[in-house]
């Protein structure tokens, strides 16, 4: 039905179709949708600010606290601009990961491929709470994070397909994507956490007002080196935000079977911690802002546990149903999907509309398709790249090849 608002006539789709009308329920509904679309097209030029709310406030789940007196706010304001941005970012990651799934099944992507669909709100919430001058490091489930840190879509997809246009020229693969202020992309479970503490050390040493976000999963959370990093980060008051993305499974092992203590946000002991609803991008954003403020004020490191879920298995070799049920996956998709949650909020509050979000979906699909075309047509790296980037300063001009008489030039 048309609802008269101060923003002009608004047809709110998704509601129950009107009860009566000349062409029956569905017919009337369809006509009204078409009229809405027509109205929007006519008013394209006068759209955006006049038609939609510019800001709205939402409640988020309160965070659980460890060693903290204050908490992130539970009433969060979201601007239309930010809302559309977060939607686009999450949808881009979602579509990109599904495209990677497709390309992997076509055998165009080989080896390891760990997908992030379901966890989009974690990456998007963090990136929109920190600054581009902050640094970040994560583990191997990295494609979405790489995109958020600034790596172009086609550079990500062509890295997955092993082409020269990849962000690591095809030499790194799925798990090794890097950018300015972004240190990958790390294949050894847990090793990235001391590295991240080291980045934070360097930021403090150089007197920069920046922090490092060091991400790891529930599977890595039991690694000894993580506790070693906690100890030194706390002793030396390093500006490090440790983030545990708890997607409930370390490969095929549920958290209860791997950890004597599954309260990962408390495992930092002397490091204050918060447990956050990782399916809600606004909750993640506010919690990250809260943590970043704490760290920037010189109070030392903090630990943030994001409770999230991955739809795919651990990697493309894992169907993901031998250790959990399809019903469980379906339930999370239906009730807690991060993109749906944001969509409902944007539409329900008048920040956006179904139509507008659909346009974004179409645009995103187009961008992913274009990147995918590039990734499948770009050539593989030249043979000279086999022996380049071994040293920043090579001391020899050649290295030994497969046989002693094969001397390969190295750069």
């Amino acid at each position: 039905m048309f609802v008269a608002t101060h923003n002009g006539p608004q047809f709110v789709c998704g509601q129950a179709p009107p009860v009566d009308g000349p062409m029956g329920q569905r017919g009337t509904y369809a006509i009204q949708c078409a009229l809405q679309a027509l109205w929007l097209r006519r008013n394209l030029g006068a759209r955006s600010l006049a038609d939609f709310a510019s800001e709205a406030t939402f409640d988020v789940k309160p965070c659980l606290l460890h060693g903290l007196e204050s908490a992130p706010p539970i009433s969060v304001s979201l601007s239309r601009e930010d809302g559309l941005l977060y939607y686009k970012q999450m949808q881009t990651i979602r579509r990109m990961e599904l495209k990677a799934d497709q390309l992997y099944k076509q055998k165009v992507i080989r080896g390891f491929c760990h997908l992030y669909d379901g966890q989009e709100a974690c990456g998007v919430g963090i990136e929109n709470a920190i600054k581009p001058t902050d640094h970040l490091i994560t583990a191997y489930r990295v494609h979405g994070i790489a995109y958020l840190r600034g790596v172009a879509l086609k550079s990500i997809l062509s890295e997955l397909t092993g082409r020269q246009g990849g962000c690591a020229k095809g030499k790194g693969g799925s798990m090794h994507m890097y950018f300015k202020n972004f240190y990958g992309g790390n294949g050894i479970v847990g090793a990235q956490v001391p590295l991240g503490a080291g980045v934070a050390f360097a930021l403090k040493y150089q007197g920069l007002d920046s922090l490092c976000v060091a991400m790891y999963g529930d599977g890595a959370a039991n690694q000894g080196q993580i506790f070693e990093a906690f100890n030194m980060a706390s002793l030396w008051s390093l500006p490090c935000l440790f983030v545990c993305e708890n997607n409930q499974f370390g490969m095929g092992t549920a958290v209860e079977r791997a950890s004597a203590n599954v309260d990962y946000y408390q495992r930092g002991d002397y490091i204050p911690g918060i447990k956050v609803d990782g399916m809600d991008v606004l909750c993640v954003r506010e919690a990250t802002k809260f943590a970043a403020d704490f760290i920037r004020s010189g109070k030392g490191p903090m630990l943030m546990e994001l409770e999230t879920y991955r739809y795919h298995g651990h990697s493309m070799s894992d169907p993901g149903v031998s250790y959990r049920t399809r019903e469980e996956i379906k339930e999370v998709r239906t009730k807690s999907d991060p993109i749906s949650l944001l969509r409902d909020r944007l539409v329900g509050s008048g920040l956006s509309s179904v139509e507008e979000l659909k346009e974004i979906d179409v645009k995103v699909r187009g961008e992913i398709e274009e990147a995918s075309q590039f990734a499948t047509s770009d050539p593989e790296p030249p043979l000279s790249d086999l022996t380049s980037h071994i040293y920043k300063t090579s001391l020899n001009s050649c290295i030994r090849g497969i046989t002693p008489w094969q001397q390969l030039a190295t750069a």
């Binding site: 690591a168 030499k171 890097y178 934070a200 080196q225 030194m232 980037h389 001391l395 002693p404």
Partner: protein, 369 residues
């Protein structure tokens, strides 16, 4: 100021009797001093920390304790806690922190109290530091130095005596240095600190207190030695003897003894394990026609194995009059008892008999027969 050699000793003794000896009696253009390996390493780090603010040291006991082996003595006092950092006993953690700091723009010197403990951190050295440049196709580089004592010491037993030259030398992406004397240590540690790649710097505990002549040019704060270049310590025409670290000194002693029998050894100090300077080795073998490698580490898959295989594959093979041979530590964990420990590693006499046998066909000297 000490003057070198016998004449210097004479001067000192005369000075002790209250006799004033004027220096003009002994005019040498270059003023060299005696510097221990320990002091050479200390000077290298001091000079490089003064030169570049991004350079810092971390490790166990490097600060307040002045270093477990006193290599970092005085540096905490001079540079303060920001730049000389005592770590907890958590190698994997602090090696990872050092590597991350290097990725983010600093130039860490990460000390392992001995390289035996680096095994706890080896994942960070190899998988994080060594491979980062390649995996990132040049986006991330890691200008870090991992240093500390390597190989056998005296009476420290099996877990504290292993040589890691072959382990680290195996990995592309690392540069690996194994210096012998004070000049090596000074010039190569400075070069390692200035190098933009991860460098594993293998010292030797038993060399720390040994003094060597340090010529004037080596005393300059800009003195560097090239990584990847071996040094011929003694020329000779009968046999090429290749060694690294403390064993170089044993080889020179053996060479002095063999010279009396008319066997002239060309002793090559590798200085670097990776890259290995095979050009210098090959050039020498093409002159002497005999090759013997000597190392303190285990024989199987070791440094000597690599050198012999390389010579087989290269231009020097055709010049060999005898198969190339390795003299190594015994293939056992290091025992504690002194007599067994002495049997477990190559001694000067072992080098002498091996070289003599290769050149003359006999282990006993003709002179003693």
């Amino acid at each position: 100021m000490a003057a070198p050699g016998v004449f210097g000793g004479l001067l000192r003794r005369l000075g002790g009797f209250g006799v004033r000896v004027r220096r003009s009696l002994h005019t040498s253009p270059a003023m060299s001093v005696q510097v221990t390996v320990r002091d050479a390493l200390n000077q290298a780090m001091d000079e490089e920390m003064e030169r570049d603010e991004r350079t810092f040291i971390l490790g166990e006991e490097v600060g307040q304790y002045d270093g477990a082996y006193k290599i970092t003595r005085g540096l905490l006092k001079k540079y303060g806690e920001k730049r000389v950092i005592d770590t907890p006993i958590t190698e994997m953690g602090f090696a990872g922190i050092a590597t991350g700091a290097a990725m983010a723009g600093l130039r860490p010197i990460c000390e392992f109290m001995t390289f035996n403990f680096s095994m706890q951190a080896i994942d960070q050295v190899v998988n994080s530091a060594a491979k980062a440049l390649y995996m990132s196709a040049g986006t991330i580089h890691v200008p870090i130095v991992f240093r500390g004592p390597n190989g056998a010491s005296a009476g420290v037993g099996a877990q504290h005596s292993q040589c890691f030259a072959a382990w680290y030398g195996h990995c592309p992406g690392l540069k690996v240095i194994s210096p012998w004397n004070s000049i090596d240590c000074k010039g190569l540690l400075k070069a390692a600190i200035r190098d933009d790649d991860p460098v594993v710097f293998l010292e030797n505990e038993l060399m720390y207190g040994v003094p060597f002549d340090m010529p004037e040019e080596a005393q300059s704060p800009d003195f560097l030695l090239p990584i990847g270049k071996a040094h011929v310590e003694r020329t000779g025409q009968h046999i090429t003897v290749v060694a690294h670290s403390r064993i170089v000194g044993f080889c020179l002693e053996a060479a002095a003894a063999l010279a009396k029998e008319g066997i002239e050894c060309e002793v090559i100090n590798l200085r670097s394990i990776r890259p290995l300077d095979m050009a210098t080795v090959e050039q020498s073998v093409m002159k002497t026609n005999h090759l013997m490698t000597v190392e303190g580490g285990w024989p199987i898959f070791g440094v000597g194995a690599e050198i012999c295989a390389s010579v087989m594959e290269g231009p020097a093979f055709d010049y060999l009059d005898a198969p190339a041979m390795r003299v190594t530590g015994v293939d056992v964990p290091m025992p504690y008892a002194r007599n067994l420990e002495e049997l477990a590693g190559p001694q000067v006499k072992d080098i002498i008999t091996a070289a003599r046998r290769m050149v003359t066909g006999k282990e006993e000297s003709r002179a003693t027969a």
